[in-house]
């Protein structure tokens, strides 16, 4: 009922607007074309400057409101570099934005039609054109320079001592694998995947390296230690989005990708820093992957070195779990 009411109001609004518009057109004809044009022109010229002023105030105000809500604490070393790059870019583009928008609306206002004014015939000026080809080019070179400097640092090889963790996306969740004590991932083959038999990744039990591989539904990593993620997908393209670590990488079926970073704060520390007791590092899927895309959430616990060692020691390998399920009696003896 209320919907129909709303539509009715809308139609009514349309009708009134239209009638006013039609009437003012007639009034315009009565007033004389020229006078009507000049009045309209004045109003629109004035609105140009109003728009500029309100717009700039709006931009400032928007900044004030959302400053605290964007870019939560950058929790990785790479993140700091990305934030620095962001501030450099905001500064340069911000200046250009303010200057050009002011010029645009100011010119529109200042040079609005007047009977006395004669437009200035000014078809080109080579010096001016060279200036605004060269100056932007210089600023862009600076931005490219900084950008690529950080880019190669961030996408460069992970340090040799980095912990390796394999992340696999599926509709709609994440699976994590740790290489175990031998620091080597066992072989896997996707045809071997069997959710019913607790082999979500299709590990090959013939390969002894796979026997100590730990498979979990939540990721735990240690603070201040480089971690390298090897990213896979089981079905469609997903994306490992780590907003606090400022990292992102697609998970592509058939083509493993990698990223690495150094977490700076444990989850507990971040709870205090963010002032949010419910805080958790989240993995968001950032590549459209189907109807559950927006629910594809993973959790990363960042813990101290000691906690990490204890946690890892407490994990049962995927192989042991499977074997235990097959022969319960043997498993219990072990």
């Amino acid at each position: 009922m209320s919907t129909f009411f709303l539509i009715l109001i809308l139609l009514f609004g349309f009708l009134i607007t239209f009638q006013i518009a039609k009437a003012s057109e007639y009034v315009g004809v009565l007033k004389g074309e020229k006078k009507n044009f000049e009045q309209n022109n004045k109003v629109n010229g004035f609105l140009m400057i109003v728009f500029l002023v309100l717009g700039l105030i709006g931009v400032y105000w928007c900044n004030e409101i959302y400053r605290g809500k964007i870019l939560g604490e950058s929790a990785s070393v790479h993140g700091e570099q990305i934030d620095t790059m962001l501030y450099i870019t905001i500064a340069i583009t911000g200046v250009v934005f303010v200057i050009t928008q002011i010029l645009l609306f100011w010119f529109a206002y200042k040079y609005q039609y007047s009977e006395k004014r004669q437009a200035h015939y000014f078809p080109h000026n080579n010096r001016l054109e060279v200036i605004w080809t060269v100056v932007p080019a210089i600023f862009l070179t600076v931005l490219v320079g900084f950008g690529l400097f950080y880019w190669f640092r961030i996408t460069g090889e992970a340090p040799a001592d980095a912990n390796q963790i394999e992340v696999t996306g599926k509709q709609f969740g994440w699976i994590f694998r740790y290489p175990g004590k031998d620091h080597t991932f066992g072989k896997k083959y996707y045809q071997n995947i069997n959710d019913g038999a607790n082999n979500q990744l299709g590990l090959l039990w013939d390969d002894p390296y796979s026997h100590d591989d730990v498979v979990t539904g939540e990721m735990t990593i240690e603070v201040n230690k480089p971690v390298k993620l090897i990213i896979n997908s089981r079905d469609v393209i997903h994306d490992v989005g780590l907003v606090y670590f400022r990292q992102k990488m697609d998970a592509v079926p058939g083509t493993p990708t990698t990223l690495w970073f150094i977490p700076k704060f444990t989850t507990e520390e971040m709870k205090k820093r963010e002032g949010n007791p419910a805080f958790d590092y989240e993995i968001s899927c950032d590549q459209m992957c189907g109807k559950g895309h927006y629910t594809m959430r993973g959790v990363i616990k960042v813990v101290s070195h000691e906690q990490y060692v204890i946690w890892l020691a407490g994990q049962k390998s995927n192989y042991d779990q499977v074997m235990a399920a097959k022969t319960p009696a043997v498993a219990e003896k072990n």
Partner: protein
Amino acid sequence: MSNEASIHPVTETSHDVHLDEHAMHHHKETFITKYVFSQDHKMISKQFLITGMIWAIIGGLMSVLFRLQLGYPDEHFQILQDVFGSKWAANGQIQPEFYYALVTMHGTILVFFVLTGGLSGTFANFLIPLQCGARDMASPFLNMLSYWFFFGASIVMLTSLFIETGPAAGGWTSYPPLSALRDASEGSKGGMDLWITSMAMFVVSSLLGGLNYISTILNLRTKGMSMTRLPLTIWAILFTAILGVLSFPVLLSGLILLLFDRHAGTSFYLSDIFIAGGKALPNEGGSAILYQHLFWFLGHPEVYIIILPAMGLVSEVLSVNSRKPIFGYMAMVGSLFAITVLAFLVWAHHMFVTGLNPFLGSVFVLLTLLIAVPSAIKVFNWLTTLWRGNIRFTPAMLFAIGFVSTFISGGLTGIFLGNSTLDIQLHDTMFVVAHFHIVMGVSGILGMFAGIYHWFPKMYGRYMNNVLSYIHFWITFAGAYLIFWPMHYEGLAGLPRRYLDYRQWISFNQFGDLNRFISTVAMITFAVQLLFVFNFFYSIFKGRRVMSRNPWGSTTLEWTAPIRPGHGNWPGEIPEVHRWPYDYAKDGREFIPQTEPLGSKESAH
């Protein structure tokens, strides 16, 4: 008579009307040949325009629906369930599959059917013969086919909205494997096949049109119309057509491979897939990333296919209504050319986080940021065109100024995204959505509005209502900024795009109020577009009549044709051209038409 016409009185009124009548009865036309299977470029242009407008309303309405869900995730709108049924809108809420179908179709429709078909189709067809001084396109028949392929593509796409499993729902980019696997999503069933079919027809339409535009511009210019005497609209359309002809076939090839993967058991894009529900597919060795390369090889030029014609229209409108020549004509042509070349060399900046080799990524960073240079030249030239002008704020002029403003804003955020380092944080977030809506969506549509308002008198021999136009402009312009400016902040906070609901996320749930605000403004802005549609159709039949040939005091050729030109455009000889199209305010004269010979002491531009 127009408000503006009285300032530059032209005394040829009764003569014009007589010529109109004469031209109309040049050769006998039935309703079918005149309005349906017309080969007159002007009618084809109107067909493109009106089809595009219908699509714009449908596509816009879709955005209202999904913004409703984003802005008011707790509400239950009974009417949604009544209209769309309980599969798509159970309990009056947009269901995930419906949401993804909506965003996918919104993107496809607006990018291809409105801002490519609607924009290029309308203004290339309308302006090329009229501004070059030609009777019609090089091949009127192919031109007609171009529209009817577009129409066919439209019908197929429209049909896909009504099938049981819904239309395509994998995003407008339709990345495989999601779009290749029927089991991965409802939208990857029949809807996807219709999407591919429709897009294939669209590509055919675009190629037929593009080849025609290029050959007409190169071969059918009137006497004296050298390339450097062409208005910038025509230059922009020429480059647009070249972009389209070279890149659309690549998309088609990508889609054909996708079709093979879907139905012929090939593995171009598929490898190592275990689909939910428990079966491992036999496909091995394909590369899902290959599709992205093929798609973006069109996909990136596509955004220039949208923005270049808008730039052309805006350049013309700015110059005419500033009563000044466009500043730096050759630089404007040169920057269009530079953008066209660079458009082919930047596609992989959409793929920085796909596992692309970082070195290759760095090359694309460099090439991408290079585009900012010609873009900056254009912006500064537009600003200088306004400087010391004598500006008339016609509705078209307002939209042109709006275009420059949004193009600056959106262009600058492109510098963020083109920088791979920042793209790591911003990729696939709401920042991207805000960026391309401002720079491509809003700018493109503002440019299109500028064109419609400016050439409406030429198209229909009547004016649109000024007051409605002003209301339309100011609300649209302010609305666009209110919608998309704050959206950048969501993106900086890392909010992923294409999310239906952010409330379960600890990292992303801080913008509930903002989403409600954006949705509300979006609905108001959409409603105002309906006002424009009403104004458009009302004015075709009831608008004030145009009484002089050249109501805006313009120099270009289309304004030397009769008020309602018949098929063939000029009743007698095609006028000869003697000068460039931007002789405004020269030698103390308000404007000098292109058809006027140079004075004995006058220097050519």
